[in-house]
């Protein structure tokens, strides 16, 4: 099989799935004005991931996923507690909670590295998209584990958003009315937290936590500047996310070659940078870049 199928295809698939998944979930963070929650969860799952790894002794075990979900719940609960008791603004409450949890994760990583266990900060910080290989290329069962994990989380998240579209929209735009109808908007919040945590763990090996944060916020924010329609925004953000993934991956691999160089740039970083460029373009030219008041009035309409 050609090099493309063995090297580029699995990386593109993983990046595309991760970006699409994060963009889908990020819409609810951006619309609920909780963008920093993505930042907080993506950082706060680290002690859960490392703890799960130390307990199970293997990467990508169910223990790591369970650890990440538990850490996300702890973080969300702690943030609520700090906000309510201290009457502290949400941004500062999130900053206080996630930095401590991330520091605990770094501390545990450092201890694990001292025991020669194979887990390090690099893949969390940079992402190692280039290491996702499909060596037995035509064999569908030999697709890398990361791709299967991402595809699974993507399928579950997409199904949940599709099936619960009406309830989620109500909870996002009018929590008080949703509560009056008996929909429990708090459950939607909890679901978003859990899915963001699952997306973080599914993506972290492949693309690194920083790409998760960029992809959670940038495509939905860009789409927010382009449209007032709820469904259009979600679909547009997923298209922008996947498009950024392909464009960024291409930029990383081929841009240096244009200058005759043989090296390549960090792919996860390039993808996030491209998504940032998309936001910049939307902020300059997006048809709905201003109009906060008009937007709020029409956004709930399909």
């Amino acid at each position: 099989m050609s090099l493309f199928w063995q090297v580029d295809f699995p990386a593109l698939l993983a990046a595309g799935l991760a970006s699409g998944l994060c963009a889908l979930l990020g819409n609810f963070l951006v619309l609920r004005r909780e963008s920093l929650l993505g930042d907080a969860i993506a950082h706060a799952v680290l002690p859960g991931i490392v703890g799960g790894f130390l307990l199970a002794g293997a990467l990508a075990s169910p223990a790591m996923l369970a650890g990440a979900l538990a850490a996300a719940l702890v973080a969300a609960g702690a943030i609520q507690l700090v906000r309510r008791l201290g009457r502290i603004e949400p941004g500062a409450a999130m900053g206080a909670v996630f930095t401590v949890m991330f520091a605990a994760g770094v501390f545990m990583l450092e201890q694990a590295a001292g025991r020669n266990l194979h887990i390090d900060a690099d893949c969390v910080l940079y992402g190692q998209l280039e290491d996702i290989l499909w060596l037995d290329a035509p064999d569908i069962r030999a697709l890398p584990r990361e791709v299967w994990t991402l595809a699974g989380v993507f399928a579950v998240a997409a199904a949940a958003v599709f099936l619960l579209a009406k309830e989620i929209r109500l909870a996002v735009f009018d929590p008080a009315f949703a509560a009056a109808l008996g929909f429990r908007p708090g459950l939607v919040h909890l679901g978003v937290v859990l899915f963001v945590a699952a997306a973080s763990i599914a993506s972290f090996e492949a693309v690194g936590s920083i790409l998760v944060i960029a992809m959670l916020i940038c495509p939905p924010a860009a789409a927010r500047l382009m449209t007032d329609d709820y469904r259009t925004q979600i679909l547009l953000s997923m298209a922008l996310g996947t498009g950024s993934a392909f464009a960024g991956y291409g930029l990383a691999g081929f841009a240096p070659a244009l200058f005759g160089a043989s090296w390549s740039l960090n792919a996860a970083g390039c993808i996030a940078a491209v998504s940032g460029a998309v936001v910049a373009a939307a902020a300059l030219f997006g048809p709905r870049r201003h109009s906060a008041a008009a937007g709020a009035a029409t956004l709930g309409r399909t």
Binding site: L81, G95, E110, G276
Partner: protein, 382 residues
């Protein structure tokens, strides 16, 4: 800071070697300055902007290294790298401000976009610099998670002195900053240049962030500004109280964290400092006298009992334990007992006269009525 065979006592009393001692003192100065600046940023609801600044320093560090290398200078000189860090850090802050001001995006979305994209650009630049002929960029990565061990004694001393200078500027501008935090319009009416003061406060934030990069790392440096201020908020309702507690928490936490990483092998300095600050924060969250978890649990758990005690006092009867909490002595209500009865009577009046004004989420008949409810009752209460 090799941590080899040094006891906790030697470290804490500065007998663990000159370098370790200077790094610890530098960390304490940095923590004090960050605690002070962080208290104002927090009160102005700008604390998380420091997270965007911290991540936005990475491209500047890498570019400064590359530029210095191309010019033939020593690329790893700390002042050069920190100058680059400050430049792109301010650029990142300006980008977040511009996104917030010119588009419909909320400030938190602008911060999340700035921090993730600028960090990603830094990572891309890092992968480019690795290919440069001047070779090894080893050491640049230590800025991401911090590596105080890479500091020489003179560098640590320089950082500490710069941090103290920042704290001095902060104290000199204390009154206008306080006015800015509480009543911007009043400050403007009094003739203070509000925009320039705001810029000065954010500038101090960038400065402290940059000074903390090598010690704590750019991912976690925001913790230096947020954790002491949030912890202090649990203990005090007054600006001066919050400010000085935040300075003390910052200095103490950074000092203990740096000491811990000198004692324990493989304890990274940045994470240790953040965990020490986190311990102060957790203790405040749990044990603060009015807002803490314990106090809140106690208040909720005893609300029913205190309501019955107040009702009994109101009817001129005693109630088991009322003497213990000082509400009744010698068969008569004390001043505190009378105050409890007066609060209860206000709740009764509110229920009878304007039930719409009854607040939610308070212990009925026990907590003081909020000012809005008192205003509804048409009198100024206690």
């Amino acid at each position: 800071m090799t941590g080899a065979e040094v006891g906790p006592l030697e470290v804490l009393t500065f007998r663990a070697g000159y370098n370790t001692g200077v790094v610890m003192a530098g960390a304490a100065a940095l923590g004090a300055a960050a605690g002070g600046v962080g208290a104002f940023l927090f009160l102005r609801a700008r604390a998380m902007a420091a997270d965007a600044v911290g991540h936005a320093t990475l491209p500047g560090i890498v570019l400064a290294f590359a530029a210095a290398g191309l010019l033939g200078a020593e690329g790893r000189s700390l002042p050069v790298l920190l100058a680059g860090a400050a430049a792109t850090g301010m650029l990142g802050m300006a980008a977040a401000e511009a996104l917030t001001r010119n588009t419909r995006l909320a400030p938190d979305a602008a911060i999340a976009i700035t921090l993730s994209v600028s960090y990603a650009i830094g990572i891309v630049l890092l992968s480019w610099v690795q290919t440069l002929p001047q070779g090894s960029q080893g050491g640049l990565e230590s800025f991401i998670l911090g590596q105080a061990a890479a500091l020489t004694a003179s560098e640590a001393a320089g950082l500490g002195i710069a941090a103290l200078a920042a704290l001095a500027v902060l104290l000199a501008l204390f009154r206008p900053f306080a006015l800015l935090c509480f009543d911007e319009d009043h400050a403007r009416a009094r003739g203070w240049p509000v925009a320039r003061l705001d810029a000065a406060l954010l500038g101090l934030g960038v400065l402290v962030t940059v000074l903390g990069l090598q010690t704590v790392g750019l991912v976690l440096v925001v913790a230096l500004l947020i954790l002491p201020a949030v912890a202090a908020r649990f203990w005090s309702e007054r600006l001066r109280g919050i400010f000085w507690l935040s300075v003390a928490f910052g200095a103490g936490g950074a000092f203990l964290g740096a000491a811990a990483s000198a004692v324990w092998p493989r304890a990274p300095t940045g994470a240790s400092i953040v965990l020490a600050l986190g311990a102060v924060f957790a203790a405040s969250l749990l044990a603060a006298p009015r807002r803490g978890v314990f106090a809140e649990t106690f208040r909720r758990g005893t609300a029913g009992w205190r309501l019955r005690a107040a009702r009994a006092l109101q009817a001129g009867r005693g109630y088991p334990g009322a003497a213990l909490v000082g509400w009744r002595r010698g068969g008569r209500p004390t001043a505190r007992g009378a105050a409890a009865v007066a609060r209860l009577e206000l709740w009764d009046r509110c229920l009878a006269e304007s039930p719409d004004a009854l607040p939610a989420g308070l212990a009925w008949g026990i907590d003081p009525l909020p000012p809005e409810a008192l205003a509804q009752l048409g009198r100024r209460g206690r």
